[in-house]
Protein backbone atom coordinates (compact mmCIF):
# COMPACT_ATOMS: atom_id res chain seq x y z
CA UNK A 1 0.00 0.00 0.00
CA UNK A 2 1.26 3.43 -1.01
CA UNK A 3 0.00 6.84 0.11
CA UNK A 4 1.03 10.46 -0.41
CA UNK A 5 0.38 12.96 2.37
CA UNK A 6 -0.16 16.71 2.05
CA UNK A 7 -0.14 16.98 5.86
CA UNK A 8 2.01 15.59 8.68
CA UNK A 9 1.45 11.85 9.14
CA UNK A 10 2.01 9.40 12.00
CA UNK A 11 4.20 6.55 10.70
CA UNK A 12 3.36 4.26 13.65
CA UNK A 13 -0.37 4.61 13.07
CA UNK A 14 0.10 3.74 9.39
CA UNK A 15 2.24 0.72 10.27
CA UNK A 16 -0.22 -0.55 12.87
CA UNK A 17 -3.22 -0.06 10.56
CA UNK A 18 -1.52 -1.98 7.77
CA UNK A 19 -0.34 -4.71 10.12
CA UNK A 20 -3.94 -5.21 11.25
CA UNK A 21 -4.73 -6.39 7.70
CA UNK A 22 -1.94 -9.01 7.70
CA UNK A 23 -1.58 -12.52 9.10
CA UNK A 24 1.34 -14.88 9.62
CA UNK A 25 4.10 -12.29 9.90
CA UNK A 26 6.96 -12.86 12.32
CA UNK A 27 9.14 -9.95 11.21
CA UNK A 28 8.55 -6.27 10.46
CA UNK A 29 11.30 -3.89 9.40
CA UNK A 30 10.59 -0.21 8.96
CA UNK A 31 12.39 2.97 8.08
CA UNK A 32 11.30 6.54 8.74
CA UNK A 33 13.17 9.47 7.21
CA UNK A 34 12.55 12.78 8.93
CA UNK A 35 13.42 16.35 8.10
CA UNK A 36 16.62 17.60 9.72
CA UNK A 37 17.16 21.28 10.52
CA UNK A 38 20.70 21.06 9.20
CA UNK A 39 22.16 20.19 5.77
CA UNK A 40 25.53 20.79 4.13
CA UNK A 41 26.63 23.11 6.91
CA UNK A 42 23.52 25.31 6.92
CA UNK A 43 20.53 25.66 9.21
CA UNK A 44 17.36 24.71 7.35
CA UNK A 45 14.11 26.18 8.67
CA UNK A 46 11.60 24.53 6.30
CA UNK A 47 11.38 22.37 3.21
CA UNK A 48 9.09 22.09 0.23
CA UNK A 49 8.63 18.69 -1.39
CA UNK A 50 7.64 18.95 -5.03
CA UNK A 51 6.55 15.85 -6.94
CA UNK A 52 5.14 14.76 -10.30
CA UNK A 53 1.48 14.01 -9.62
CA UNK A 54 0.38 10.90 -11.45
CA UNK A 55 3.85 9.51 -11.93
CA UNK A 56 4.70 9.52 -8.21
CA UNK A 57 2.04 7.06 -7.07
CA UNK A 58 2.67 4.74 -10.03
CA UNK A 59 6.45 4.72 -9.43
CA UNK A 60 6.03 3.94 -5.73
CA UNK A 61 3.63 1.11 -6.51
CA UNK A 62 6.07 -0.28 -9.07
CA UNK A 63 8.84 -0.20 -6.46
CA UNK A 64 6.62 -2.10 -4.00
CA UNK A 65 5.81 -4.67 -6.69
CA UNK A 66 9.53 -5.08 -7.39
CA UNK A 67 10.15 -5.74 -3.70
CA UNK A 68 7.26 -8.23 -3.45
CA UNK A 69 8.65 -10.14 -6.44
CA UNK A 70 12.22 -10.16 -5.19
CA UNK A 71 11.53 -11.30 -1.62
CA UNK A 72 8.91 -13.44 0.03
CA UNK A 73 6.88 -10.72 1.76
CA UNK A 74 3.49 -10.66 3.42
CA UNK A 75 3.00 -6.90 3.02
CA UNK A 76 4.60 -3.52 2.33
CA UNK A 77 3.63 -0.02 3.42
CA UNK A 78 5.08 3.10 1.82
CA UNK A 79 4.10 6.67 2.68
CA UNK A 80 5.64 9.95 1.54
CA UNK A 81 5.02 13.60 2.35
CA UNK A 82 4.58 16.27 -0.29
CA UNK A 83 4.26 20.04 0.15
CA UNK A 84 5.61 22.16 2.99
CA UNK A 85 7.48 20.39 5.77
CA UNK A 86 9.03 21.55 9.02
CA UNK A 87 11.97 20.03 10.91
CA UNK A 88 11.38 16.68 12.69
CA UNK A 89 8.31 15.87 10.58
CA UNK A 90 8.46 12.47 8.86
CA UNK A 91 9.14 12.62 5.12
CA UNK A 92 9.05 8.95 4.20
CA UNK A 93 8.03 5.59 5.64
CA UNK A 94 8.89 2.17 4.24
CA UNK A 95 7.83 -0.98 6.09
CA UNK A 96 7.90 -4.67 5.13
CA UNK A 97 6.42 -7.73 6.80
CA UNK A 98 7.65 -11.29 6.29
CA UNK A 99 7.72 -14.65 8.04
CA UNK A 100 11.43 -14.33 8.92
CA UNK A 101 13.68 -11.34 9.54
CA UNK A 102 16.12 -11.56 6.62
CA UNK A 103 13.46 -10.76 4.01
CA UNK A 104 11.92 -7.87 5.97
CA UNK A 105 15.32 -6.21 6.58
CA UNK A 106 16.51 -6.53 2.99
CA UNK A 107 13.24 -5.52 1.35
CA UNK A 108 12.76 -2.49 3.60
CA UNK A 109 16.18 -1.17 2.69
CA UNK A 110 15.62 -1.96 -0.98
CA UNK A 111 12.37 0.01 -1.02
CA UNK A 112 14.15 3.05 0.43
CA UNK A 113 17.04 2.90 -2.04
CA UNK A 114 14.70 2.39 -5.00
CA UNK A 115 12.52 5.26 -3.83
CA UNK A 116 15.55 7.52 -3.42
CA UNK A 117 16.71 6.88 -6.98
CA UNK A 118 13.40 6.49 -8.85
CA UNK A 119 10.49 8.27 -7.18
CA UNK A 120 9.91 11.76 -8.68
CA UNK A 121 10.27 13.97 -5.60
CA UNK A 122 12.43 17.08 -5.29
CA UNK A 123 13.35 18.87 -2.08
CA UNK A 124 13.71 22.63 -1.86
CA UNK A 125 15.24 23.92 1.35
CA UNK A 126 14.48 27.22 3.05
CA UNK A 127 17.60 28.45 4.82
CA UNK A 128 17.79 30.57 7.95
CA UNK A 129 19.03 33.57 5.91
CA UNK A 130 15.79 33.53 3.90
CA UNK A 131 17.24 32.01 0.72
CA UNK A 132 15.95 28.84 -0.91
CA UNK A 133 17.86 26.10 -2.70
CA UNK A 134 17.11 22.80 -4.40
CA UNK A 135 18.71 19.75 -2.83
CA UNK A 136 21.05 18.48 -5.56
CA UNK A 137 22.26 15.15 -4.27
CA UNK A 138 21.31 12.23 -2.07
CA UNK A 139 23.38 10.79 0.74
CA UNK A 140 24.77 7.36 -0.31
CA UNK A 141 22.62 4.52 1.03
CA UNK A 142 25.09 1.63 0.94
Amino acid sequence: MVTLHEQDFDPWALIQAHQNTLRGYGAMASFVGSMRDFNEGDTVTAMHLEHYPGMTQAQLEEIVQDGMQRWSLLGCRVAHRVGDITPEQPIVLTACWSAHRKEAFEACRYLMEALKSRAPFWKREQLIDGTQRWVEKNTPGY
Binding site: E50, G54, M55, I91, K116
Partner: protein, 79 residues
Protein backbone atom coordinates in the same frame (compact mmCIF):
# COMPACT_ATOMS: atom_id res chain seq x y z
CA UNK B 1 1.21 17.66 -30.44
CA UNK B 2 3.22 17.08 -27.25
CA UNK B 3 2.41 18.22 -23.73
CA UNK B 4 5.64 18.98 -21.88
CA UNK B 5 6.25 19.29 -18.12
CA UNK B 6 9.26 20.68 -16.28
CA UNK B 7 9.84 20.07 -12.58
CA UNK B 8 11.85 21.53 -9.71
CA UNK B 9 15.05 23.38 -10.70
CA UNK B 10 14.36 22.69 -14.40
CA UNK B 11 11.02 24.46 -14.10
CA UNK B 12 12.86 27.48 -12.75
CA UNK B 13 15.73 27.33 -15.24
CA UNK B 14 13.50 26.91 -18.30
CA UNK B 15 11.04 29.50 -17.02
CA UNK B 16 8.14 27.09 -17.75
CA UNK B 17 6.06 24.61 -15.78
CA UNK B 18 4.45 23.29 -18.97
CA UNK B 19 4.83 23.87 -22.71
CA UNK B 20 3.04 22.58 -25.79
CA UNK B 21 5.12 21.49 -28.79
CA UNK B 22 3.64 21.27 -32.27
CA UNK B 23 6.84 20.43 -34.19
CA UNK B 24 7.27 17.45 -36.58
CA UNK B 25 6.65 13.94 -35.13
CA UNK B 26 7.89 11.33 -34.50
CA UNK B 27 11.07 12.80 -33.10
CA UNK B 28 13.44 11.71 -30.35
CA UNK B 29 13.38 13.27 -26.89
CA UNK B 30 16.83 14.66 -27.67
CA UNK B 31 15.57 16.43 -30.80
CA UNK B 32 12.63 17.83 -28.87
CA UNK B 33 15.03 19.14 -26.22
CA UNK B 34 17.03 21.01 -28.88
CA UNK B 35 13.83 22.40 -30.38
CA UNK B 36 12.75 23.73 -26.98
CA UNK B 37 15.98 25.63 -26.31
CA UNK B 38 14.66 28.75 -28.06
CA UNK B 39 11.88 28.95 -25.50
CA UNK B 40 14.22 28.62 -22.49
CA UNK B 41 15.51 31.68 -20.66
CA UNK B 42 19.04 30.38 -21.38
CA UNK B 43 20.47 27.27 -23.10
CA UNK B 44 20.38 24.13 -20.92
CA UNK B 45 22.51 21.04 -21.62
CA UNK B 46 21.03 17.53 -21.44
CA UNK B 47 23.46 16.62 -18.66
CA UNK B 48 21.67 15.55 -15.50
CA UNK B 49 18.25 15.95 -17.11
CA UNK B 50 15.91 12.98 -16.65
CA UNK B 51 13.25 12.18 -19.25
CA UNK B 52 9.87 10.54 -18.64
CA UNK B 53 7.28 9.82 -21.33
CA UNK B 54 3.69 9.16 -20.28
CA UNK B 55 4.93 9.03 -16.67
CA UNK B 56 7.58 6.33 -17.23
CA UNK B 57 11.34 6.88 -17.30
CA UNK B 58 12.90 6.63 -20.72
CA UNK B 59 16.04 7.76 -22.56
CA UNK B 60 16.90 10.55 -25.02
CA UNK B 61 16.46 8.21 -28.03
CA UNK B 62 12.80 7.52 -27.20
CA UNK B 63 10.64 8.25 -30.29
CA UNK B 64 7.85 10.62 -29.27
CA UNK B 65 4.35 10.21 -30.69
CA UNK B 66 1.46 12.60 -31.04
CA UNK B 67 -0.32 13.06 -27.71
CA UNK B 68 2.62 11.97 -25.53
CA UNK B 69 3.15 13.58 -22.14
CA UNK B 70 6.87 14.38 -21.88
CA UNK B 71 8.50 15.40 -18.61
CA UNK B 72 12.00 16.77 -17.99
CA UNK B 73 13.39 17.01 -14.49
CA UNK B 74 16.59 16.96 -12.44
CA UNK B 75 17.74 13.85 -10.50
CA UNK B 76 15.18 13.03 -7.83
CA UNK B 77 15.88 13.86 -4.17
CA UNK B 78 12.96 12.44 -2.20
CA UNK B 79 12.96 10.06 0.74
Amino acid sequence: MLKIHFFASLRERTGHATLTDTGPLPCSAAVLWERLQTQFDAPIAQDAVMVAVNQHYTDWQHALQDGDEVAFFPPVTGG
